[in-house]
Symmetry: C2
């Protein structure tokens, strides 16, 4: 079978060996005569999957019992609301940094629920970038400070994280588990699963357990982190198959090694950025020091050429290269599971396309 | 491969031919060189799945353009909160009927968010039952009337639905698409997917579109039905694989016919209830006229015998027969995809068990 090179921003390429394992045991999970999709979430077979998914996450991020690993539904978008509902008390201020489309969405939802200070704003700058820690105008006694570690649409990424007095809260949807970092510097980390982790349908939430105590009593059960901590993400039926896929992916990350994956990710991105920089035809859209290792974004001399590029690339087996509809241009999303061969093939195509159209 | 007879209350047995199709194309969806899990939710391949899932639902339920079919996350449990957040205005009252554990959960969450009148309450009666329409003490001008059409834990089911002036809202998690009914009598229907519809990780919501206009402006985007109606359940990344599985299941229901499925469901349940009634050893827990066709519940003379029954049944290949931990006893969940052969095999086992222990 020929695998398409899938540059989608998410849902995205999954590790081939994970897909193969899921396929092999889809009808009969480990000799139980049932699919893992059919197992009760409270039965032994699924519970072992659930516990391994939590343990692998804690191991990969170096976290102890003071942190909870939660598997929630509603994606990062529901977290935009749950975070202020749980952590932003009446009379308090939350500091948010605006680095682009996703940060702006988090800010918009938080403003519905409490007082927000936009501590730094480069959300509409072109070339795109993330704020410098030194630009941040933080509030004394803030409930928390929110950052978006990688802007999937603009292709800008925080390369190091600010130190803050207030708990640091991060949307890591598009770069979670793509590089080593000190997770204990964060109060809460959340990520939609559909980029580096699993199929769509789950948000991974990692939080310092003590922060869950802040929640007001009238927040509905499903929207309280404390509910999910107390019930190990089984207050209601969890998205078992997505968590099973996530567990297989974390096994694959452990086997590969997070440092190795990070080196591969940097290398894959560098090959694309080098091709862009070596040409006057292609122009990167992010400030060089903020260039994302996950979502590489660039422009061609005209929108017409961009459309031709996307169309011809698709015919050659490169899927998902069209930039987000809100910004246009080209975007190559190259998450953990995307193979370096696909990057090299795209670079060849880019050279060829430029030779024909430059 | 020997399929286990899986009597789990959910996640539950899926149609074998659906699992087989999913397995066949798991690595390469219709020659695209990618898994359906890897396809962009905004790409052609997935969009066709999404649209078919909506169209099949509307066809099976006989609904037109005045109704929306939504695929949300958070299960029925998040709907317990979303319904009052969207439909229960300040100063209004919502009427709820209490028929057992699941109705009680819906009531508990609604009370956090607005004024609730418990219009009928038989939630703690034993034998278990659902309210009679004539018992309901409805509020004039109520925002809506809420019922739980099938109590998964107690095994009690509404056999016909009340006519109400206020919009009728129903949790159909455990009997949706198991029988024909007039969906246009309802304002909003919701159901967790993991019983009759798909793997866990999705709530199907069917609602009259005009009801979505009631929502206050300060409700977060992800918790507003209007957001999801306007974006066809793609405001954020939807749980694509679960929706794909649901689409395959709706194809299977259409092919089988809803009337045929209903006849099969009634027949399967009747075989079990006949076995229970023919014995003094087994005792059904629901009032006969409210007996569920989906979750058949009964007791043995002692908890010790019940534990032995569950253990020996498991050894014979009958999984998931233990009653919910909150009530004990035995529960056989026999949703749409559960085969009649499994029911007959269980009836034989029951007779044998009684002969040895009665």
């Amino acid at each position: 079978m020929a695998r398409t090179y899938n540059f989608s921003a998410g849902p995205a390429t999954l590790p081939l060996e994970v897909l193969e394992e899921a396929q092999r045991e889809l009808l009969d999970y480990q000799g139980t005569g049932m699919s893992i999709m059919e197992h009760s979430h409270r039965g032994k077979a699924y519970m072992a999957v659930h516990e391994e998914a939590i343990a692998n996450t804690k191991e990969l991020l170096g976290l102890g019992d003071d942190y909870a690993v939660l598997f929630l539904q509603g994606g990062a978008s529901l977290q935009f609301a749950m975070i202020p509902m749980n952590l932003l008390g009446a009379g308090q201020t939350a500091d948010y940094t605006n680095s682009g489309s996703w940060a702006a969405k988090a800010i918009k939802e938080a403003k519905l629920l409490g007082h927000v200070n936009v501590a730094a704003d480069c959300g509409k700058e072109i070339p795109t970038r993330v704020p410098l820690a030194s630009e941040m105008n933080l509030t004394e006694g803030a409930a928390y400070v929110h950052i978006t570690t990688n802007e999937t649409i603009s292709g800008a990424q925080w390369k190091s994280f600010p130190k803050t007095d207030a708990p640091l809260v991060a949307d890591m949807s598009s770069d979670i588990l793509s590089r080593p970092f000190n997770a204990q510097d964060f109060g809460l980390i959340y990520a939609g699963a559909q980029k580096n982790l699993a199929p769509a349908g789950m948000a991974l939430v990692i939080m310092r357990k003590d922060l869950a105590d802040r929640v007001p009593a009238n927040v509905p059960s499903m929207l309280k982190y404390s509910t999910h901590i107390e019930n190990d993400s089984m207050f209601n039926t969890c998205p078992c198959f997505t968590i099973y896929m996530y567990m297989l992916v974390t096994r694959w990350i452990k086997k590969t090694g997070l440092e190795t994956l990070y080196a591969r990710n940097v290398d894959k991105a560098a090959r694309l950025y080098s091709a862009i920089d070596a040409s006057d035809f292609y122009k990167g859209t992010a400030v060089p020091e903020c260039r994302s290792d996950m979502n590489v974004t660039w422009r061609l001399p005209s929108e017409e050429l961009e459309a031709t590029f996307v169309k011809e690339a698709l015919a050659e087996g490169f899927s998902g290269l069209k930039g987000h509809r809100s910004v246009g241009g080209i975007r190559a999303s190259i998450y953990n599971a995307f193979p370096v061969e696909g990057v090299d093939a795209l670079v060849s195509f880019m050279k060829d396309f430029e030779a024909r159209n430059g």
